[in-house]
Symmetry: C2
């Protein structure tokens, strides 16, 4: 994925590791302080890199924040994708996706603050994150419908509904409290989906 | 509802009208500019009131923003409540709630920016808004379960799932695009809920 500022992509493995360290430090910095209070010096201190290294990859605080939103969006997708692909049917795929999403959120609680703040700092990335997530869910639902696993008329509203369920279940059971296993929540929701979207 | 700063509640009908005008102006100001760029002078200009009138009711920009979050939360609740109460059963109540919610959002598109920015400006009101909304949905689901209209074991996860569906359907079909009637979305989701939560 292209995350560094234009013309600043790392060319070596060592450069890629430094870029990764800067992005992880940016997640901690913006997750804890928010965009306005967060600073480039706070990021380089957390990453243990010199200020010059930051500017090797990014032009500005805005640029690293935009990169971080796209990076977190990609990290979530990559974390849930293998479990979704391995699932035996469409509903099991959504179940695995939700379970792994809650796990990811518990390990990266800052993701909500970062994606949510993007609405104000980088509206385009915010919109892209949700639009592409909904498109992926809709494509999976349509494939499941073609296999006869769910009703034939699944569409955008179902996809947005499932995305909204997942986002708020992640907030309540991943960020706010961890009072139930992720698998239990995902199983309960899969039952809800399996009956709610059953072929007619 | 107590929205003015402590000791500053209006005592006359005229005072209540001025307070209402200030809150509506604050919704427009913060909805358009965000909290950081929005200003008290922008609010009083939009409301057509003197700066002194603002301080008659609010201590600060923070105070009027906090009041606005609680006011918008209450406005949504009051807008959907009569239709929910008039519905013939629990699923029809959720259907009516979603349909009226999307209508409200279309008429008050700034609500998303304001509630979402509260996560950063006034975390307590943000949390209270979603916690109380989920509690209301869960109470309705449990009442419907007691009447045998939905499965007996409905709980917090179902309530958070429904809230998340509604929030994201409102964003997609209320704020971003108005490409389908609110009633059609709500009917599709009610069918989903009716089968998904059917008594076993």
């Amino acid at each position: 994925m292209e995350v560094a500022s234009e013309g600043k992509a790392p060319r070596t493995e060592r450069g890629r590791r430094t870029l990764r360290a800067i992005l992880d430090a940016a997640a901690a910095e913006f997750g804890e302080k928010g965009f306005h209070e967060g600073s480039i010096s706070g990021i380089t201190r957390r990453a243990g890199v010199a200020l010059g290294s930051f500017y090797t990859y990014f032009d500005s605080k805005d640029a690293v924040f935009r990169a971080l939103v796209r990076d977190m969006s990609a990290q979530v997708r990559d974390h849930v994708a293998p479990a979704i692909r391995a699932a035996p049917d469409g509903i099991a795929a959504e179940q695995a996706g939700l379970s792994h999403f809650i796990d990811f959120v518990r390990a990266h609680k800052e993701i909500y603050r970062i994606i949510d703040e993007a609405e104000f700092v980088d509206a385009e990335s915010f919109r892209a994150h949700y639009a592409t997530t909904a498109e992926r869910i809709e494509a999976r639902l349509r494939a499941a419908a073609a296999r006869g696993e769910v009703r034939a008329d699944v569409g955008a509203a179902h996809a947005w509904a499932i995305m909204g369920m997942n986002v708020f279940l992640g907030l309540r059971f991943g960020v706010w409290e961890e009072d139930r296993p992720a698998e239990a929540i995902a199983a309960e929701m899969a039952d809800f989906l399996r009956h709610g979207l059953a072929p007619r």
